[in-house]
Symmetry: C2
DNA sequence: CTGTTAGCGCTTTCAA
DNA sequence: TTGAAAGCGCTAACAG
């Protein structure tokens, strides 16, 4: 009705030209104001007018158009196997804590048997960086030319030139072996991850080496399972007789999730923990405190892993900090009630 | 060295013009081949040549440029409070199961006290759809004009015209109340979520109503806490004496995570479960089977929630199916050892 | 302080 | 069956 007002509202999505027209300025000015770069470049009055128009029309910058010209996506991919795993979920939460509204986390799950996504796939998402928590990708020949920073999580080895955040697993592993040795255990089942990863090799080797050092005639019985509670449970149900025949008095697992399965299997078989068999693991997820019985576990601070990795990737993206940095997080044993004296 | 070959490899990121030059075709042809639209439009020989060049140069379509012209982002946001919560993590995993390589999941955590992100913020990420698992956003006035499909998770109420997936909480809640009534409980503490959400109101109301119906002189003691194990634990530690004075013989929590805290607090206070106090909750996360003691819980299939929501949003995005659909998932009580006869 | 303009890399008519 | 060309909406020089 009023002649001074634009009558027809823009049909589709509101764009910069709509705002420009509404405010009576050029789109360059709109861009400046919309991006908070108006300070000292646009008069306060004009800026206010533009802001009012933006609010009135509900204008939101088209991110694709912006990315096309800036080359930045404000997006980082987290590549991991299973977000339902509490350790991964905690890592993601840590990443999210660090990312503000300015950086988005995209979940690139390496689900099923498609195998992990390769660099090409990830970069087809349009990301400014990548957080890798699976094995193998580091060997992707395209990694060097990824064109964006890559931070490797929970792996101490690999090509130099990549930043990484990992745990000093040796501390906790040694403490765990001393703890079990002190309780008189001599034959221990080590339930490893089926998936070969250097972090799992580390956990096993460091524990095994220290255990052999502390215990005379130590014996390690090896087993592997997927990192899945039910799979681990089924394996234990099958293998328990054999393990007991070999004299095992304790089971150590590579991850908490596997330990949950072990506890479930032992409960189902009416095996007392730690009376008949002690159980311990690596991860110390929050719920380890309330399992039946509460789980002795080497604490690997996942949330911090995520936070540190996010910090590294953001620094490389925004302040183009040099890659190749390593952040090493300490670990420590948390003793709870799932471990006790070896039965005689 | 060979005259027939392009010598200087493209400097920056490989783009369509590089491939076109390498293959001796136009960029239009490259686009066709790269998008699998070559069938019947490009000769087999040319297509093969282009594909070879794409592989040789490692060409990946620039997603921002593509989005700019197609208007599609191949990205969906999941808005939730805390990815570290096993229920949310399972939901995300379900979503990921459905999304192929063609659709990416972005995690828009409503962390901290910034409050949940609003529609404008989400759409500034560039998404084709949105999965909402928090309260409040449905009341965002901009929701109608979001410009992309929105699916509401785990809420039965709200504006029509939005698709939603939620649980028929009544079934499980009623079973739980019957279960407790049958065990002779009369005074029950209901530990609700601090965060007001219709799904939590539902859980409480349905349980309470059924319990009052089954139990003569039933009494419900109300409490609230954040959905955080340690917060719940602290609350229980403080409130336990008062609750016992009031004659409570059971604690029901709105979520498993709170129940973990309850179990931890009771274990710390040397209160026998279920001997002195029974505990039950809603969610039935996988680890509920291995808590101390294993937790009686109403199963809310989170993974399926995610799967169904993903299906709905994809249908609306790709086949522009009509919004306003509702998928209702059944629930059922899973009885474990944390509930037993009320002490006398 | 504000506007004009040249692309960013790609998809998609439309002609040839 | 292929190519030329017109934008998609925006940012960033540059000019005024």
């Amino acid at each position: 009705m009023d002649v001074g007002e634009r009558m027809s509202p823009p049909k589709g999505r509101v764009k910069a030209t709509d705002v420009a027209e509404h405010a009576g300025v050029s789109i360059a000015t709109v861009s400046l104001v919309a991006n908070g770069k108006a300070e000292g470049r646009v008069s306060a009055a004009t800026a206010a007018r533009v802001r009012a128009s933006i609010a009135a029309l509900g204008y939101v910058v088209n991110p694709a158009a912006r990315s096309l010209v800036t080359g930045r996506h404000h997006r980082v991919a987290l590549v991991a196997h299973d977000i339902a795993n509490p350790f991964i979920a905690a890592t993601a939460a840590g990443v999210g804590e660090v990312f503000g509204k300015d950086m988005q986390l995209i979940l690139a799950a390496a689900t099923g048997e498609d195998g992990p996504p390769d660099i090409a796939t990830i970069s087809s998402f349009g990301v400014d960086g990548m957080l890798v928590n699976i094995a193998g990708i580091q060997d992707d020949p395209q990694l060097g030319e990824a064109g964006f920073p890559v931070v490797v999580l929970d792996e101490s080895q690999g090509p130099p030139g990549l930043s990484r955040v990992y745990f000093d697993v040796g501390i906790g592993a040694t403490q765990l072996s001393e703890h079990l040795a002190g309780l008189g255990h001599r034959v221990v089942v080590y339930l490893d991850s089926e998936r070969v990863r250097e972090t799992f090799d580390d956990r096993r080797e460091r524990f095994t080496a220290a255990f052999r050092q502390h215990v005379h005639r130590a014996k390690i019985v090896s087993a592997r399972s997927r990192i899945d509670m039910h799979v681990a449970q089924a394996l234990v149900a099958r293998s328990l007789p054999s393990w007991r025949r070999q004299g095992a008095t304790a089971i150590v697992t590579a991850t908490d999730v596997q330990a949950y399965g072990v506890l479930a299997a032992l409960a189902a078989a009416d095996v007392e923990v730690p009376g008949a068999l002690s159980v311990a693991s690596f991860d110390n997820n929050p719920i380890a405190a309330v399992t039946h019985p509460p789980l002795t576990s080497v604490d690997l601070p996942a949330r911090e892993l995520g936070r540190e990795a996010a910090l590294l990737v953001v620094d490389q993206i925004e302040k183009d900090a040099r890659p190749g940095r390593s952040v090493i997080l300490p670990t420590s044993l948390v003793v709870r009630r799932s471990t006790g004296p070896a039965p005689t």
